[in-house]
Amino acid sequence: MIETKSLPTQYASQPGPVQTSSGKTLRTDEMIINMGPQHPSTHGVLRLEIVVEGEIIIDVIPHIGYLHRCFEKHAEHMTNYQQVIPYCDRLDYCAAINDEHSYVLAVERMLKIELPERVEYIRVVMAELQRIASHLIAVGTFGIDAGAFTPFLYAFHDRELILDLFEMTCGARLLYNYFWIGGLSHDIPPQFVDKAKQFCTYFRPRIKEFNDLLTYNEIFVKRTANVGVLPKDVALNYACSGPMLRGSGINWDLRRDDPYSVYHKLQWEPQIGKGEMGTVGDVWDRHIVRMREMEVSLSIIEQALAALPEGNVQAAIPKRIRPDAGEVYARTETPRGELGFYVISDGSGTPFRVKARAPAFVNLSVLPAISRGCMIADLVLIAGSVDIVLGQVDR
């Protein structure tokens, strides 16, 4: 059993009574600082109640729920399974496609339908493009957290190119409603493949440029290495997933280890943190995992585009979707980690219960454990490296 209180603190200077030069003990009081819900670097409406002694954090108490939009209630009240998809989009608004993927996978497993090969390949291409877009937001805003504004502009410029591809395909920039149960809403446009290939050739050198700009920047490394270390056993006990888990050196990726779609037909390797700049599992490791995952995604996209078969983009499914009574838990690897949907069907046309296991929610719960003993200025970086999206945390 892992006691959160006994975690190693990360700074040698422990809070405690301070001796003055005259030999008296100086009384130091704990102070409570409120960060959020309106704060530029909480990435949304997260509120952190921070107990500090001087500059050192004694405890962090996250207060969430400022964006609780009743997703699960809506899912139970829609008139059919299809109508839940737009609400899934709005869970993790930085990576809407991946959310849809997880939900449609759950319903398709209940219906036990086979998808056309073309659908699976297009889904992989879209999911990986979305992963790059989401990681670009993550590392761009992480740069702002560290005090660097320029990376944000670089990241958002490149992200616009991906959004153009999405816009070309389904007309929307942010929330797509593109994956439907049994297929896609419609086929990709004819010029999509060329444009996507162009993007891949354009973007690969940009990642190197971005790394030179931010990742290997001396100041950035000094601020992020050895900060907010998440040990392996704690990460597992808190069921962290995605770059959080891989940053701690655990080689675990659902795309490879619990295969769905056609990821098992493509050649790629998950990226893990190796502690190149400091300890394994520190903030820098989580950042570099995201940067390297973008390159991996590029290679997956190129392979999938090369193998893209012809065919239909909708499987033959009944007009009114009525899965047999039963339940299923399906999970996919989203940019933030394992997003699972636990869907219970009672045999009617609407879900009886939909629970979203949100990776951001679970990853955020480890924040108090990894920030105890850090300096208060590092908390911003630690919270940024968790890469939360409050829509998913609060649902």
Binding site: M1, I2, T4, I64, G65, H68, C70, E72, K73, R109, V234, L236, N237, Y238, A239, I250, W252, D257, G326, E327, V328, Y329, R331, E338, G340, Y342, I344, F352, R353, K355, R357, F361, V362, S365, V366, A369, D394, R395
Partner: protein, 158 residues
């Protein structure tokens, strides 16, 4: 391990704490006694044959027949096998034992189950509402929930 072997080892160890099981479902599940979830969870996590070290999901459910429940989706990183545990309670006596001391991730999930369904998690270290405001009344994901007309002077329905 298959679900059947897990069920047998649980039955051998805990006997009547295992209420029922459904092994022919696509994802087999085992129903356990709600007041003994913690020791069962400890066994499942620490037994070298099972090693369920990763809790994927914990969901509260209202079965709409006077019954509430919590569903645990467990996974083992070591053996790569899965099992689903369920614990049921009634709406009159909504008590289920906490597994936070086994998997730390259960902490927030259990708070959410308390918030949304009013399931009182016994022995939970910090049982407060998590998503809704602390002064909210009722548990909104119960099937018989009525939306309040006003909250703090703000009209709630459209």
């Amino acid at each position: 391990m298959t679900a059947e072997e897990i069920l047998n080892s649980l039955k051998a160890k805990f006997g009547d704490a295992i209420v029922e099981a459904k092994l022919d479902a696509p994802q087999p599940w085992i129903v356990v006694n709600p007041s003994r979830t913690k020791e069962i969870a400890f066994f499942l996590r620490d037994d070298p044959a099972t090693r369920f070290d990763y809790m994927m999901c914990l969901s509260g459910v209202d079965y709409n027949n006077g019954k509430l429940g919590i569903v645990y989706h467990l996974f083992s990183m070591v053996h790569r096998h899965k099992i689903v545990l369920k614990a049921f309670c009634t709406k009159e006596q909504p008590h289920i034992q906490s597994v936070t001391s086994v998997w730390a991730t259960a902490n927030w999930h259990e708070r959410e189950a308390f918030d949304m369904y009013g399931i009182v998690i016994d022995e939970h270290p910090d049982l407060r509402r998590i998503l809704l405001p602390y002064d909210w009344e009722g548990h909104p994901l119960r099937k018989d929930y009525q939306v309040p007309e006003f909250y703090n002077g703000m009209k709630v329905p459209y």
